[in-house]
Structure formats: structure tokens, C-alpha cells
């Protein structure tokens, strides 16, 4: 009888903990959305070159962060988790896009939208155009460093690489970019 009561109390406390965690995760999602959603979408847009896909990537990252809230329990960790998730998912999108573009026929050109205009403005930049020629890791390192203004440690955390690798990727990316821009000029 006592064991049953203890089990019931334990189950009740576990259920209460789950409810509290869920409520805290919901709150964290709302707060992080209001403060970082736009910048994360823009970061993803720079990586995947498509606003709709960027939004989906960021929303997937928020959902994943909500599920991992019990492990995070901190806004800073959650933001780091979000960045890492966005970078990883953007990389997956690009990898998947390569396969799709290789096999799928060319779609009919659609009417350009306002979003397309915004991304087209970005695409018209010679620097961004040169950025497309870089390998994904170098591109990620540059975007995280010069758009998100992250430190080497944060970039290392977001890309799940070491700080030395961040330095190396950044330096090689800058050299390649310089070469491309000088050649085009």
C-alpha cells in the first residue's frame, strides 16, 4: 500500500515535472522567437539562398530546441543549440538540393515576389556571388563570423568543430574570396 502510494506520488511528481518542463519550453520558444527568429532566418537565408527554405530550417530548429529543452534549461545554451541546428540543417538542405538539382527538371520561371526581390538584392552583391564559390564549411565560417558577429568559440560551437578549425576555415575562405574578387575585377 505504501509502495503504491509512493509510486503514485512519484508518478504525479514526474507528470508535474513534465508539465513544468513543457511550459518552460513553450516560454523559451516564445522568447527566443521574439528576439532571434529574424536573425536566424537571415543567417539561414545567406546559407541556403532561399527565404522559404530558411524559414522552414529555423522553425525545425525551434521545434528541435523545444524537444531538447530538458537538456538545455538555459537561454544561452538554447541559442547556441539553435545556431548549431540552423547551420546543420542548412547544410543538409544544400546537400539535398544538390541531389535534387541533379535529377529534377528545371522548373518553369515564376513571377518574382517581394521575398525574391530581397534575396535578389543580396545575390546581386559581388561578395555574395563570390561566396557561392566557396566550400560549405568556409562559407559557414564567414557568415557566422561577419554576419552573426560570433566569436571563434561560438563559431566552433555552432559548427561543431574546434577553434583551430574555425581559424583555418576563415583564413582559407578569406583567401579564396580575395582571389575570386580580384579575378572578377
Amino acid at each position: 500500500m505504501t509502495e503504491t502510494l509512493v509510486a503514485d506520488v512519484a508518478l504525479g511528481s514526474v507528470s508535474a515535472d513534465l508539465d513544468a518542463d513543457r511550459a518552460a519550453a513553450d516560454t523559451a520558444v516564445t522568447e527566443l522567437y521574439s528576439t532571434h527568429y529574424r536573425s536566424l532566418v537571415r543567417l539561414a537565408a545567406l546559407l541556403v539562398r532561399d527565404i522559404g527554405t530558411a524559414e522552414e530550417v529555423v522553425q525545425d530548429s525551434f521545434v528541435a530546441m523545444h524537444g531538447a529543452w530538458r537538456r538545455l534549461r538555459d537561454s544561452e545554451k538554447a541559442l547556441s543549440y539553435l545556431r548549431q541546428s540552423v547551420v546543420n540543417r542548412s547544410r543538409s538542405v544544400l546537400r539535398h538540393r544538390v541531389v535534387v538539382d541533379r535529377n529534377a527538371p528545371k522548373p518553369a520561371p515564376d513571377e518574382p515576389s517581394a521575398e525574391h526581390g530581397a534575396i535578389a538584392l543580396v545575390e546581386r552583391s559581388a561578395v555574395i556571388e563570390a561566396l557561392r564559390t566557396l566550400p560549405p564549411r568556409q562559407r559557414e565560417a564567414l557568415v557566422l563570423r561577419f554576419y552573426a558577429d560570433l566569436s571563434e568559440a561560438q563559431i566552433a560551437d555552432a559548427m561543431a568543430i574546434s577553434r583551430g578549425a574555425v581559424k583555418s576555415h576563415t583564413a582559407r575562405a578569406m583567401q579564396a574570396l580575395r582571389t575570386v574578387l580580384e579575378r572578377d575585377a
Partner: protein
């Protein structure tokens, strides 16, 4: 290009992306994906409802067109001929055809309905019994229905005995059970003496044991009329009349006629083996008298 200039150029180029504005429904989409999935049955129900909602207008349209075509064909087949020339009489005759078709249709529908109801009663007779007896078992001793109620021994308690004067007598009075049909008799002249023709045999213990001579009818005074209609229901046929004196139910007896023993079960059961049987059917007699009188 110096390193600082390169970095500034990169920053400026990247910050062109600040013009990108994501959709405003991002949080709603995230929250929608965070909700637990709907139950499968609900999803199926919603999908089915959507499918039906899309199909119902088409089906209604098809049904309406079918009705129109059937009606049009029936009108062409049975309607009055428009080419008929003539006066009012011929036009009236032209309408006889659709009227006849309509009448036949109504007759067929009514017949079908009647047959269907009858078949239902034949299939489930208990339901029909309960319908007729108001839910209670209304079958009395001889299998007759007893709309007034149920006697525990199956004897009918139909009718009542009303006596007025001193000559009104109850009929088929039994000692234990009231198995006789209720009758009301009125003795004095000019008063109505009525008895119910729905007589049910009483087989109960101590049933009918009147005295030998008392099973004959009473001697109504001239002008007394015995009718075959029941007056009242549900009251046991125990009257204030003296036992053994019975007013026979059955045919109407006109004034001046000599009533003869009725072939009702009461009198038949009380007749002794040696006693003479009634020589004529009361109905025949009565009707003969009626005819004679009329």
C-alpha cells in the same frame, strides 16, 4: 585590399540580408508543429466530411436532374395531349388520363403500405397485440381481446351491469369470477335494456351455477328493449340483481316480442342436458321480427 577593408566589405555585403523579412506566422507554425498530433479517427472523420462536402452538391445536382427527367418522361407518357383540339369536354377528357394514372398510383401505394403493415403484424404478432391492447395482454379466456383490462384468469370483465328498477338482472353471474359480458338491463317499460354481445365463456371455478329455471330470460315488460350494445367497460358484471335471473345478451328484441333463450355461452352452459334447446336462432328470430315489424 587590406584585411580590414575586406572584413568591412564582407560585413556590408552580408548585412544586405537585413532586408529579408520572414513571414509573420512563424510562431504559429512552430506552435502548430509542437502540438500533439490529432487522433487518427478524428483525422479520418475530417477527411471524410471534407470528401462528402465536396461530393454532396454534385450528387444533389444529379438527383435533381434525374427527378426532372423522370418527371418529364412521366408527363410525356401520361400527361394530357397538347395537340388535342376540341372544346372543353375534350380537354376534360384529356385530363382523365393523368388523373387515372394518379389514382392508380395512389391506390398502389396505399395497397403496398397496407400489405407492408399487415406483413409486419404477421411477422411480429406480439407487437400488434401490444398495439391493440395498449401494451398489456388483452386476451381473455376465449382468446378474445379485452380492451378494458385483464382478468387474472382470463375472464373478460367487459361491460358493466346497470340495473334500474327491480327487474334489471345481471347475466352470467358467477360466484367467483365475473366471466359474463356486462349487461345493463332496465326493467321498467320504456327503459333500455342493453347487454353486450361480446360474451366470453367463463370456465372459472364455481362458474355458472344458477338454478335450473333461472337461466331463461327475464320477462321484460312491454316496451322494454334489449340492445346488443355494451354500456361501459371494465366493471365486473356483478350487479345487484338476484342470482340466477339473467337478462340475456344478444339480439335486439323489439317490444312485444317474446324473448327466447339466447345462445350465449352463459345460457348454454347452464342448460341442463334434458332441457329443450332453443328452437330458433335468436338472430334469425330477432331479425325476422324486425323485418316483420319493419
Amino acid at each position: 585590399m587590406s584585411t580590414i577593408n575586406e572584413r568591412e566589405a564582407l560585413r556590408r555585403a552580408f548585412h544586405l540580408a537585413d532586408g529579408i523579412e520572414p513571414g509573420a506566422d512563424g510562431l504559429q507554425r512552430i506552435q502548430a508543429r509542437l502540438r500533439p498530433p490529432r487522433p487518427l479517427a478524428l483525422a479520418w472523420a475530417e477527411a471524410s466530411w471534407t470528401y462528402l462536402r465536396m461530393r454532396i452538391p454534385d450528387e444533389l445536382q444529379r438527383l435533381w436532374e434525374w427527378l426532372l427527367s423522370v418527371t418529364g418522361r412521366a408527363w410525356e407518357r401520361f400527361g394530357p395531349k397538347s395537340g388535342t383540339t376540341g372544346g372543353v369536354a375534350s380537354r376534360t377528357i384529356g385530363w382523365l388520363r393523368p388523373a387515372a394514372v394518379l389514382g392508380v398510383t395512389i391506390f398502389v401505394v396505399a395497397l403496398g403500405t397496407y400489405v407492408a403493415i399487415d406483413a409486419q403484424q404477421a411477422i411480429n404478432p406480439s407487437a400488434s397485440n401490444s398495439i391493440h391492447s395498449g401494451g398489456s395482454a388483452g386476451v381473455s379466456g376465449g382468446g378474445q381481446r379485452n380492451p378494458g383490462g385483464t382478468n387474472s384468469q382470463g375472464h373478460s370483465a367487459l361491460g358493466s351491469t346497470g340495473t334500474s328498477g327491480g327487474t334489471g338482472k345481471s347475466t352470467c353471474r358467477s360466484s367467483g369470477t365475473s366471466g359474463a359480458a356486462g349487461s345493463s338491463s332496465s326493467g321498467p317499460a320504456g327503459q333500455t335494456q342493453s347487454s353486450s354481445p361480446s360474451v366470453s365463456p367463463s370456465d372459472g371455478p364455481g362458474g355458472l351455477s344458477p338454478s335450473p329455471g333461472a337461466n331463461s330470460s327475464s320477462s321484460p315488460s312491454p316496451g322494454a328493449t334489449t340492445t346488443g350494445s355494451a354500456t361501459g367497460a371494465g366493471i365486473p358484471a356483478v350487479g345487484s340483481s338476484s342470482p340466477g335471473v339473467a337478462t340475456l345478451p344478444g339480439p335486439r328484441v323489439m317490444a312485444g316480442s317474446v324473448p327466447t333463450p339466447s345462445p350465449s355461452p352463459c345460457t348454454r352452459r347452464t342448460r341442463r342436458p334434458g332441457s329443450p334447446a332453443p328452437n330458433a336462432s335468436p338472430a334469425v328470430f330477432s331479425y325476422g321480427r324486425l323485418n316483420d315489424g319493419g
